[in-house]
């Protein structure tokens, strides 16, 4: 019985996939928490489509070269993030609306670019990723991105929190808010690009949003929500890979599906707004 949880990781490819997912959790989960708290959950989704044309251009220029495709995705994502961020600040357009415009255009462009040259097999690989294809280089790349993301978050943490809870205060106290916001958007893209190697462009957001959603059912203080999100991302990643190996299904979807299962479990038993605490809260207190 216990073997089910260890045998999948006897060969090196599977172990590398596990390490990649665990490392990924440390960067993606905190980013996801902020996305969710800023009510930008769907924006992560939009952004993941926005990186597609960059990936596609790299694919056209250099074939299935992961490094080039990642750089392409990074450039495209940053351009969209910065442009839509600027558009929000300069015009009256709301962030979600301007982002929707950019990502729809990017997605259309990306699909046209990929299908103009590639096979449907390659399109699927770009859209859904492949954990089996993570080599040492990809692993270092993910680790590097995660380290960078964590450092950046540590630096912009306070302005970012204030920008979420009381943006006006920060606008009066200094210009840090706008800067923190742009840096944050940039690292949304960095995390998406690292996650996309493992999970593909479509499911990359799963490692961000689902752990963040899980954590919100467990605490009402951001300093606890973030660690809970990281732990649940690691658990989902591990169990997802076990599921993938045992049932012989693709790894990306099974990681996301596992996180989804934990999400619904948390929704029922979570102490911060979970269903059990809402409908069976116990007798009311004296004061």
């Amino acid at each position: 019985m216990v073997d089910i949880f260890t045998t999948p990781f006897t060969d090196e490819v599977a172990r590398r996939a596990l390490v990649a997912i665990v490392v990924l959790s440390f960067g993606s989960a905190p980013i996801g928490v902020f996305l969710m708290l800023r009510r930008m959950s769907l924006m992560g989704d939009a952004m993941s489509h926005a990186i597609l044309p960059g990936v596609a251009v790299a694919f056209l220029l250099s074939g299935m070269n992961r490094v080039m495709m990642t750089i392409g995705g990074l450039v495209a994502g940053l351009v969209v993030a910065v442009l839509s961020g600027l558009m929000t600040r300069v015009t009256e357009m709301k962030e979600d609306a301007s982002l929707a415009v950019f990502y729809l255009v990017s997605l259309a462009l990306g699909v046209i670019l990929v299908t103009s040259r590639g096979s449907s097999h390659e399109l699927v690989e770009i859209l859904f990723g492949d954990v089996q294809k993570i080599d040492a280089g990809a692993l270092y790349f993910i680790a590097f991105n995660t380290t960078l993301t964590l450092c950046a978050l540590a630096v912009i943490y306070r302005p970012l929190v204030m920008e979420c809870v009381d943006p006006l205060f920060l606008r009066v106290a200094g210009q840090a808010g706008a800067l923190a916001h742009l840096v944050f958007l940039a690292f949304v893209v960095v995390s998406l690009v690292s996650a996309y190697i493992a999970l593909g462009t479509l499911l990359a957001v799963g490692m961000m949003i689902l752990p963040a959603g899980i954590a919100q059912f467990w605490s009402r203080d951001i300093s606890r929500i973030i660690p809970v999100a990281i732990v649940s991302a690691v658990i989902s990643g591990y169990l997802g890979l076990v599921l993938s190996a045992t049932a012989g299904v693709p790894a990306g979807p099974s990681v996301v599906l596992t996180a989804g299962a934990i999400y619904f479990l948390s929704m029922v038993i979570g102490p911060a707004g979970g269903l059990m605490h809402r409908f069976a809260p116990g007798r009311h207190l004296e004061a």
């Binding site: 809870v165 006006l168 840090a176």
Partner: protein, 251 residues
């Protein structure tokens, strides 16, 4: 003595429509000024201009020896995301922004300061509560605690006693008076004329254009208040460019 705040023919507004029209005048350091006027009179707009969120359409606002970021500004609290999971302690601590900045740590001295400020507004024991669990009055107390921590020379309070019960506003008013005795310059937008008459020596009556400005007793006459009420609230979309507008002065 040099003025703490100086308005030079200031016009503030949105889409070229003035919300504050041709305001000139000075506020001395240590003044305790009430800004009164009907809804839509431009009180909040004026405050947004003072803290630099809104650029004047014409004229200029000089802040004397301080910069806009040294002004403690308490907006109408609707702009705060109360569902955000942050504790009362952490939120209040943001008042130390000027000294700690984005990265400065909170040492024991800072922690004590935050606890003192919370105690001064009667929120002892609330430190680890999430801000979403506070009542309206408690929220306002917490925001005052943050203003305390900001330790600013100029304090701008936008309708601080709205929807606040008598006891809470009395407590918070005591803080305002304490700031006045500490020679800080305090501006407050208010609707309660009795409260203004009893506590604020100086009043600016605003109805888009300034109606009267001076000692409260002379400003809050029934004639002046009537005049203020008669101003129209709606922007006129067909309004022509204001002929009276002088080119904006360099700050």
């Amino acid at each position: 003595m040099a003025a703490q705040l100086q308005f030079r023919d200031v016009t503030l507004g949105y889409d070229r429509h003035p919300a504050v029209h041709h305001l000139s005048g000075e506020i001395a350091p240590g003044a305790l000024l009430a800004v009164v006027g009907p809804n839509g009179a431009g009180k909040s707009t004026l405050f947004r201009g003072i803290v630099g969120i809104l650029k004047p359409l014409a004229g200029s606002i000089a802040l004397g020896n301080v910069s806009a970021r040294d002004v403690a500004y308490l907006p109408q609290s609707a702009e705060i995301d109360r569902s955000f999971p942050i504790s009362v302690f952490d939120f209040t601590g943001s008042g130390l922004w000027r000294s700690t900045g984005a990265f400065g740590g909170l040492g024991r001295r800072e922690r004590e300061k935050i606890l003192e400020a919370l105690a001064a507004v009667g929120l002892n024991g609330f430190e680890s509560r999430a801000i979403g669990t506070l009542s309206g009055g408690q929220m306002q107390r917490m925001l005052f605690a943050r203003v305390l921590l900001q330790d600013a020379d100029v304090i701008v309070l936008d309708e601080p006693f709205n929807a606040i019960d008598a006891r809470t506003s009395a407590d918070l008013l005591a803080l305002v008076q304490r700031w006045h005795t500490e020679k800080r310059t305090v501006l407050a937008a208010l609707h309660d004329m009795d409260l203004v008459r009893a506590n604020f020596p100086e009043t600016l009556l605003l109805a888009r254009t300034p109606v009267a400005w001076g000692p409260t007793r002379e400003v809050l006459t029934s004639d002046n208040l009537l005049k203020a009420r008669q101003m129209c609230e709606a922007f006129d979309d067909g309004a022509a460019a204001c002929a009276d507008t002088k080119p904006a002065q360099a700050a």
